[in-house]
């Protein structure tokens, strides 16, 4: 009796081991499936981008057709201007919106706002570009950094609203009550206790938002447009890395293709860096608490 019983148990545990093993293989396979394309893209972009990624690439203007060399210095600066512009508008709206939704977000206004923010995050970026084209570019009769930055800020702020709301909601209610119980006015509790405590996570959201807009091409195509020269002012067409990559990539010239790859490598590295910093920040914050 005992023998039968234990051999039955053995069989059972053997079956379990097989199933466990199979599950593990499947899960590892799934993980691999996610990583392989990433590695392929990385390797390919690095291999294609390295040849043209020299000092001149960072310091010179694009060279005229037919001449070799030249760089994307103007696009680099243009991108910087556009992203800073978009961020400067996007951060305050995003953070304020997130604070509002998390701390006061109960009534009808909040419901409507949450709904629109959700919708806005899923609007295709080209639609945002088109909108700014009709609202800003057409009336002012010029492509400009204003238009481009505005388009980027519209893409950024809903994302920042959502991440800010989410991280503020993670701060427990009893912390807010502890602040109120000290006779601190509500808005000061929100700013000096709730928001201040969440700075690392809010920053992470902002960095991820920047990484998102840094690579956007579609909304810039007919807002900032592009330019082969140094940027002069904000009310002029503004070159940017993604648009420059786009126009070089669809050109028929081998030399420009190489530059497009170098630009792609640069863009990818920057976005990668932003993501990395954002995650490190979050990680440090998490391990800092107990």
């Amino acid at each position: 009796m005992k023998g039968i019983h234990s051999s039955f148990m053995l069989e059972l545990s053997a079956g379990r081991k097989v199933r466990n093993c199979a599950a593990q293989i499947l899960i590892s396979l799934a993980a691999l499936l996610a990583i392989v394309p990433l590695v392929f893209v990385f390797v390919h972009v690095i291999k294609s981008g390295m040849p043209a990624l020299n000092l001149a690439f960072f310091t010179s203007l694009p060279s005229p057709v037919g001449q070799s060399g030249g760089g994307m210095a103007n696009s680099l600066i243009g991108s910087l201007i556009l992203v800073v512009f978009g961020t400067v508008i996007g951060i305050p709206i995003g953070v304020f919106g997130g604070v509002f939704l998390s701390e006061y977000g109960k009534g009808k206004i909040a419901f409507f706002m949450r709904f629109s923010v959700d919708l806005l995050t899923s609007v295709p970026s080209i639609v945002v570009g088109l909108y700014i084209y009709s609202m800003v570019v057409v009336p002012t009769k010029t492509f400009s950094a204003y238009a481009g930055g505005l388009a980027l800020s519209i893409l950024m702020f809903p994302f920042v609203v959502k991440t800010t709301e989410e991280v503020l909601r993670l701060i427990p209610q009893h912390i807010r009550e502890a602040g109120l119980a000290l006779g601190i006015p509500r808005w000061r509790v929100i700013v000096s206790i709730v928001l201040k405590g969440a700075i690392p996570s809010v920053t992470t959201g902002i960095l991820l938002g920047i990484a998102r807009i840094a690579g956007e091409t579609a909304p810039l195509l007919f807002t900032a447009f592009g330019n082969r020269f140094w940027p002069h002012g904000l009310n002029e067409p503004m070159p940017s890395l993604p648009v420059q990559i786009y126009s070089y990539a669809i050109s028929p010239f081998e030399e420009w293709h190489k530059q497009a790859w170098a630009g792609a490598l640069l863009l990818m590295s920057m976005v990668f860096l932003f993501n990395l910093v954002a995650r490190l920040l979050l990680f440090r914050d998490k391990s800092g608490h107990n």
Partner: protein
């Protein structure tokens, strides 16, 4: 005996959430330097009652209050009464220690001052040291004031929260089961601290621990289903209760 100054006078206070009435017409007077213990089975409205007194109750959705609660003859619920000002006069220590995360020990104690705009460094530093000493925590933390408040043990965190409350110098402090999340040694320390503090502050403490109520309080209020069943000198409530219900609760027949 000279009648001590009347600090809190609660008259027919009702409170609840939505259609549920949790506090059902409580009236009680609390005098200067009284140490009042609120006892009663859990769910009988002790916390709700306490939170009415520093106007924290209204922070919960659907909360309502009716009746009167006067602090030094000022009705806390009269039109125009400022909850922010009331809360700076009636401090609160919560059941679960809740130091502000990502703030140092020092900043936690200073928060009530600095966030409300009192920034003079030497003054704030003096207050922090004084309150940490009062809360019997100074010796343990004086060399690591910059460490996060959350790095302390549970008992230390609770004493930190008491120091934080003392820093705004309220004449009344409410404590909602301040030791129920702590080990016996930390509990003993906090009880000792409370008996020290009562010399200068009026304290109302909710406790589910009847030995605690008997040990530290001089008045005891017994709550049952949102009503105040009995309120009197602790020695009398525990030895010769007037009400049958009080007796049953104290002798452990329910709750």
């Amino acid at each position: 005996m000279v009648q001590k100054e009347l600090v809190l006078s609660i008259k027919d206070l009702h409170a609840g959430f939505g259609s549920a009435e949790i506090v059902k017409g409580i009236s009680m007077d609390i005098h200067r330097q009284d140490l009042v213990a609120l006892i009663g089975p859990s769910g009988c409205g002790k916390s709700t009652f306490l939170r009415c007194l520093n106007r924290l109750h209204e922070e919960t959705e659907g909360a309502w209050v009716r009746g009167k609660a006067e602090l030094f003859q000022q009705d806390l619920y009269e039109r125009g009464a400022d909850p922010v000002e009331i809360r700076s006069k009636i401090g609160m220590v919560f059941q679960k220690p809740n130091p502000f995360p990502s703030m140092s020990i020092y900043d936690n104690v200073a928060a009530g001052l600095t966030i409300r705009g009192i920034k003079k460094r030497s003054y704030v530093a003096d207050v922090v040291e004084y309150c940490l000493k009062q809360a019997a925590l100074w010796e343990e933390v004086k060399d690591k004031l910059k460490a996060p408040g959350t790095s302390l043990s549970g008992g230390q965190q609770q004493r930190l929260c008491i120091a934080r409350t003392l820093a705004i110098n309220p004449p009344v402090i409410l404590m909602d089961e301040p030791t129920s999340a702590l080990d016996p040694i930390s509990t003993a320390k906090i009880e000792e601290l409370i008996t020290e503090l009562r010399k200068q502050v009026t304290i109302i403490i909710v406790t589910h621990n009847m030995q605690q109520a008997a040990r530290i309080s001089d008045k005891t209020a017994f709550f049952l289903l949102g009503e105040l069943i009995e309120y009197g000198a602790t020695s009398e409530v525990f030895t010769t209760p007037r009400e049958k219900k009080t007796e049953s609760y104290i002798t452990g027949r329910f709750g």
